[in-house]
Symmetry: C2
Subunit: 412 residues, 2 copies
């Protein structure tokens, strides 16, 4: 876009990482919180799996290329980025399914209580999974929803599980995990944390925060590709406790001896007991390769740049006088937000479409929010400046009133 390097990019210790990604032509991509960009190294790894592993070695690859252990080896790579010791994180299934497993586990461990406490503004699928359990288990599970502001005070001695997404998918608000977890511990409640908007975007420490169970997705800040398998973390103290299987999804890969083909289920030791069916290997090797891009960076550097990018975005918006027109609903204190910003406007959907037409990819969240995601591995300060300039033109010219931008697509 610009010939001179932006001064902020010059000082960015992560600036070199951008070259590891395929940046789509004529595109400024601020939607890494929805789907991260593809890295050619990921493409190459999937190709390798297709051509040599599946193509040439076919079934023998389960042993020869370690396919059978991929959920655990990939899980451990994720574990290192969320503060988990080895052997406590797996990569498999979807976030929804993994959430079901850990919620059932937590309910079983705390079986003298039935309340799952969460926030009304949690990501819907998280609440839906609880509602499903509620309907099927009857009195053994009861969802109670409270506001984010009151969550800390609402945790009490009746709470079996506190279910929380660390970073709000809409507002980007980051909830105080240390406090929530501490309060939960005091009350004898377990914590189940959705790290979908945290993992890969900011430092997470499941051990220091004494998180009991966590789940999250790999297709956002981990850049592992559309619908890539999700992850699941369980604290070691729960993996040892095994009077009966921790969750009802007794799939064969979670069995203690999957290839003995025994009639009765017996859960594997450790984190493997959370595996279910055969994992989608092509999607799983993409996660494996995508995680390697984090090998030479620190989550602290990522967080610093994330805050740098979002703060600069706000600064540019302010300079263009846009913050009055479309107020920011994300926390103004950088430490209290994740790696995104959300702006409110009645025409947010059309504004987002007009931005896309200008080559700036952001996304819309119902009912009226424009969401900007910052991916520190590939976004630049120059992109921020350029994107906000384009947004300013759109707002000034009221382009969002054009009929073409008003038409809703299936996926918004």
């Amino acid at each position: 876009m610009t010939t001179a390097v932006h001064p902020l990019d010059k000082e960015d210790p992560l600036a070199h990482k951008r070259a590891a990604f395929h940046i789509p032509a004529n595109t400024i991509y601020f939607d890494g919180n929805s789907l991260g960009l593809m890295a050619p190294s990921v493409h190459e790894r999937v190709n390798q799996a297709l051509r040599h592993e599946w193509g040439d070695d076919v079934i023998t690859s389960w042993n020869k290329h370690g396919w059978i252990d991929l959920p655990l080896t990939v899980g451990d790579k994720i574990g290192r980025l969320i503060g988990a010791p080895e052997g406590q994180t797996i990569c498999c299934d979807s976030t929804s399914i993994n959430l079901f497993k850990v919620l059932c586990a937590a309910l079983q461990i705390n079986s003298d209580r039935s309340e799952i406490l969460s926030t009304t503004d949690n990501f819907p699928t998280d609440l839906y999974m609880v509602q499903g359990i509620e309907q099927w288990l009857g009195e053994r599970c009861k969802l109670r929803l409270v506001s984010e502001d009151s969550l800390l005070n609402e945790i009490n001695e009746n709470t079996a599980v506190v279910l929380v997404t660390e970073v709000n998918f809409r507002t980007g608000r980051r909830l105080p995990m240390a406090h929530i977890s501490q309060r939960a511990k005091q009350c004898g409640a377990l914590t189940v944390v959705d790290l979908a908007h945290s993992a890969g975007a900011l430092p997470v420490d499941v051990v220091a925060n004494e998180i009991d169970f966590a789940v999250g997705c790999t297709y956002k800040y981990f850049n592992a590709g559309p619908g890539a398998p999700a992850f699941l973390y369980a604290a070691e103290r729960h993996l040892k406790q095994q009077r009966q299987p921790l969750h009802p999804l007794y799939g064969w890969l979670g069995h203690a001896a999957p290839f003995a083909f025994e009639v009765n289920y017996a859960p594997a030791d450790g984190i493997r007991q959370f595996l279910t069916g055969t994992p989608p290997v092509l999607s799983l090797v993409a996660v494996d390769a995508a995680l390697d891009l984090f090998a030479d960076v620190t989550m602290s550097d990522i967080r610093t740049k994330s805050i740098g990018l979002s703060s600069y975005w706000l600064e540019c918006m302010d300079k263009h006088g846009l913050l009055d027109v479309m107020p920011c609903i994300s926390p103004v204190v950088a430490d209290e937000r994740g790696s995104q910003l959300a702006f409110q406007h009645a025409e947010a959907y059309a504004i987002c479409q007009a931005l896309i037409a200008e080559g700036v990819i952001a996304d819309f969240r119902a009912p009226e929010y424009l969401r900007i995601g910052f991916a520190p591995l590939y976004n630049s300060y120059a992109e921020v400046e350029s994107a906000v300039s384009r947004l300013a033109v759109i707002m000034q010219e009221k382009r969002y009133l054009n009929a073409e931008f008003q038409q809703r697509s299936k996926v918004t």
Copy 2:
């Protein structure tokens, strides 16, 4: 291997399909019942999804390239091969997870009964999934296991669900679905059928057989790649019945309006209500492309060739005097078996390893079976002749006694 074309291959109307697959060098592959071979067209399609869809169009691909509808469009392609009308089959999750969903649905529809009747020799993950439900639902679900021979007679007025895998994964025995389904209907029981070893291998007609629910995998005879997403079929009569959601896995993509981000779950109409989380797109496009290889063939031709290959295998074994040494435990009547043969021998594991060392890929199933899968789209009669010759040498020389072939791998 041979320069002259085998006379049986000359007459094979499916012989040309072999060219659509990547045949690994120096390999005779008889394990398509475990993992089908890769077709270059599948490789190309995944590459396309990587480079152009994810790589260039990133998030916009959910609309632009129809990612959001892939579970249904791919599902319909599968539906056409199992006799399902449009809109009743989806492709998503694993077979295990899909089984959980349909078992819960069937139990709910038949909620005045609790018995799930199945066979002791069913594929273990199928039984495990029931055991998981049993443990969690208590008295609302009770698994009863009977022998394959007695199944038909054991279905009675207490049976809520008959859970059956059409083709036994070990013996290759094909159970009489029409009779089982008819008997189930008479008794007011619902049928849940695992088509893992049927779909793509033999004609299936879920409508003619009045199957209530079916699941199956795509990485065997559909050649869609390791761990590729599974499928789920539900009869239309059950899709209309919606007093409450049919299963407890309330994922956001099964919601009536996933992008409205509502707090409360409300299931989508039709088959979409069986979707859960975000599907692994790279693995799903592989299924999509793999199914296209069935566009110009009939399941009847596939069945004819399947029987041709297995019968010829038995004939060759007989010629080499091998059937006395390692008896065939699969039905001798071709119509009563699926697309595989299994042979019993105390050293079956080592024999399988010795075969692999000779370039013949088959597999072993505990405790002592050598399993040979026939994939009519790419296997040839010449391969059968050659593979059995090599097996004869191995047996004659007792090569299976070599220490190297005795050592067990993780995946067998």
